[in-house]
């Protein structure tokens, strides 16, 4: 099989959202001696871009987006360890994302994570009901550029402020941007707690994340 065939097959596994196939094609490519970085950039990323386009045009729905990202992750787990020391996968930025303590509303947060992943961010989703300290620990662990905190309850919004305070206390506030969201939050709230930005929905969250990491606007969601 030619290199181009491998890239196309990898892209296809992402388009089909087929985790198992993604892993096995990735393994075959590595065994055949293909360059892992090329497999990522010309196979997986290309596949994810096509998924993004199909989602933006209304042909794909959320499950295709999520399953595509999962297939990509499965193949990455094989390809990343095969990168040469001099190589690094390009990501737009590393994001720690979670729903704050006391709050179990996680659909919106999961959606934000999915769209960020599809757009080329590396997302560490720490789940729901997470205290400020867990956000800070995850930032340290992943060397994140961005923290995203979701809150759906008026009683849990204050944890978003706490995260900012704890990042300051840990000496991390200058190295990480903070974005907040969730139905009861607003730009004025974000300003009042010193967050770097607020988004009303998942597409807005992608645009904001790009802005905060100095990436150009996303071609798919840019109309």
């Amino acid at each position: 099989m030619s290199d181009a065939d491998y890239f196309e097959r990898l892209a296809r596994t992402v388009l089909d959202g087929d985790e198992e196939e993604a892993e096995s094609v990735a393994k075959a490519a590595v065994a055949d001696g293909l360059d892992a970085l090329e497999c990522i950039n010309r196979g997986l990323t290309e596949g994810m871009n096509r998924v993004g386009e199909l989602f933006a045009s209304g042909d794909y729905f959320l499950p295709e987006l999520i399953m595509g990202a999962d297939a990509m992750k499965a193949a990455l787990a094989v390809l990343e360890p095969a990168l040469l020391d001099t190589q690094q996968r390009e990501v737009l930025g590393r994001v720690v994302l979670g729903t704050v303590e006391g709050d179990v509303h996680d659909i919106g947060k999961t959606l934000v994570g999915t769209l960020l992943t599809a757009d080329g961010f590396e997302v560490t989703d720490i789940g729901f009901d997470q205290p400020a300290s867990e956000f800070v620990a995850a930032v340290k662990e992943t060397n994140a550029d961005l923290v995203g905190a979701s809150a759906l309850l008026t009683t849990t919004m204050r944890v978003q402020a706490q995260i900012i305070e704890e990042l300051k206390a840990a000496g991390l506030r200058d190295s990480v941007k903070v974005m907040v969201g969730g139905a009861p939050t607003a730009q004025a709230w974000a300003d009042s707690i010193g967050a770097d930005g607020h988004a009303v929905d998942a597409i807005g969250a992608v645009a904001l994340a790009r802005l905060l990491v100095d990436a150009p606007p996303s071609p798919e969601y840019d109309d």
């Binding site: 729905f61 009683t155 929905d201």
Partner: protein
């Protein structure tokens, strides 16, 4: 000086409807048995896990998973009362759930308000709860009251301030969806006791009930389950509402969504009956639909909410049906969609309670006119469901013979009398000076303003007010 609270006007359907066949109900029952026996539910509360274990459930303490056999489920649910009474501040406002009627409530608990006076959009505050409770107190469509928005200006104990504003401004039963921690529940019960006067009176006619959400898929909330147990012990009715979202927190089919939601509710009802046999509980199935592209939450077709009524009755408990409420962001064509149909179907299926009037934007926005407009739809449902009077006087044969062919009925005493007995809307078909009809939204605004200017329900006694204030202070000290 205070004004009388008009009597409530529940829906009293004269005819009935079945949406699910017996075979379909059996399939749902079997699905709930299978889900609870095989996969189980996640219950992150030590107190709850112990109760389940002591009463025959299979409990995996390490993973906090509870599995229930059909025998254990049926044994526990057999103890749940099919009917009970939820109290108002006075007996005239009691909700007797054994009556063949449907009582409906406001929606809650939103987070934003369009100010009744300035019409500015802002975060909700306690005074919005007080004002909306006063409007609800006046409207006969509203049989019981959910605090409509959050008291965000009282961040130490918002849910208790919501109750304070509610109890002070309506004589109707109050149901809260925001008392979801054990400590808060204790104070809420104290407040209910103040309203009732004595422990016995509170148990006989509880002026407060709790609404606790289960967490789709197949989980319960730690704090909320502890709050539910505390309330049940005190005789405060507790309902469990499942909100599975079709396509995200439930399968992308209606039957699959019912299966997940019903299993969650049943697992919670069972817990309460294990701990406090005979405690008043209710079942509430309130699923949403996931938009396949935005993920946003919106309502299902109306019949899905009425199906919840039939599920509740299958398990032998009363129901709270999701009736009004939708994604519209302002009053207009969209805000009127669906609520009346869901209300109608739920009433015809025999639902005891329904809620959802008066909020917009996915139950997050209090809009000044929305409650009066929804009340208008409610009354059209009530009239359509009511028995038609075919008595001799209504058949009016005498007057038909008298007028005979041609002629008209306008000068008949019978016509004059009956025109005055008919219910005419103060919102719809109100003539303007030029012969056209006035805008319903404008009329709703006038009615709302009139209520706020003129309706001041009987206040609590000074000692009751002082007691509530003391409880709020104690709660704020403990909870802050």
């Amino acid at each position: 000086m205070f004004s009388e609270t008009p009597p409530i006007a529940p829906i009293a359907p004269a005819y009935r409807l079945r949406i699910l066949t017996d075979e379909q109900l059996d399939r749902f029952k079997a699905a709930t048995f299978e889900i609870l026996e095989r996969t189980g539910v996640l219950v992150p509360s030590e107190r709850a896990l112990k109760i389940y274990a002591e009463h025959g459930a299979d409990v995996d303490f390490e993973n906090q998973i509870v599995r229930l056999s059909s025998d254990v489920i049926l044994g526990a649910l057999a103890k749940a009362p099919r009917h009970y009474t939820m109290g108002g501040r006075t007996r005239a406002f009691d909700l007797d759930l054994s009556k063949p009627v449907t009582y409906e409530a406001t929606d809650g608990t939103g987070t934003k308000t369009i100010d009744y006076v300035t019409r500015e959009l802002r975060a909700s505050i306690k005074d919005d709860v007080a004002k909306s409770a006063r409007v609800a107190d006046y409207l006969s469509a509203i049989s019981f009251y959910w605090p409509m928005v959050s008291a965000q200006d009282h961040p130490q104990a918002p849910s208790l301030h919501e109750l304070d504003a509610a109890f002070n401004n309506t004589l109707k039963h109050v149901q809260t969806p925001t008392v979801v921690e054990e400590a808060t529940a204790r104070y809420a019960i104290e407040m209910a006791r103040v309203i009732s006067g004595t422990e016995e009176a509170m148990r006989a006619h509880p002026p407060l009930s709790l609404l606790i959400c289960t967490i789709a898929p197949l989980a319960q909330d730690e704090g909320a389950m502890d709050a539910a147990l505390t309330a049940a012990e005190a005789g405060i009715p507790v309902g469990f509402m499942a909100m599975p979202n079709t396509g995200s927190t439930a399968p992308a089919t209606i039957a699959g969504t019912v299966a997940v939601g019903d299993a969650e509710i049943v697992s919670a009802l069972v817990l309460i009956q294990m701990a406090f046999p005979g405690a008043p509980v209710y079942h509430s199935f309130m699923p949403g639909m996931t938009h396949p592209r935005t993920g946003a939450y919106y309502g299902h077709e109306a019949r899905v909410y009425a199906m919840g009524v039939e599920l509740a009755h299958m398990w032998g408990v009363p129901t709270l049906a999701g009736t009004f409420g939708g994604p519209a962001q302002s009053v207009g064509w969209e805000s009127g969609l669906g609520g009346d149909l869901a209300s109608f179907l739920s009433a015809l299926c025999g639902g005891e309670m329904g809620s959802g009037m008066g909020l917009l934007d996915g139950s997050t926005l209090l809009h000044p006119e929305a409650l009066v407009l929804d009340a208008e739809l409610y009354h059209s449902v009530r009239v359509n469901a009511a028995e038609l009077d075919t008595s001799a006087d209504q058949l009016a044969l005498d007057v038909i013979h008298t007028v005979g062919p041609r002629g008209h009925y306008l000068r008949e005493r019978h016509t004059r009398d009956y025109f005055h007995k008919m219910e005419f809307s103060e919102v719809l078909h109100v003539p303007d000076v030029d012969g056209s009809y006035r805008e319903p939204v404008e009329m709703a605004r006038r009615q709302t303003d009139w209520i706020l200017d003129n309706h001041h329900p009987e206040p609590l006694s000074d000692s009751q007010k002082a007691e509530l204030t003391r409880i709020l202070e104690a709660a704020e000290n403990e909870l802050s």
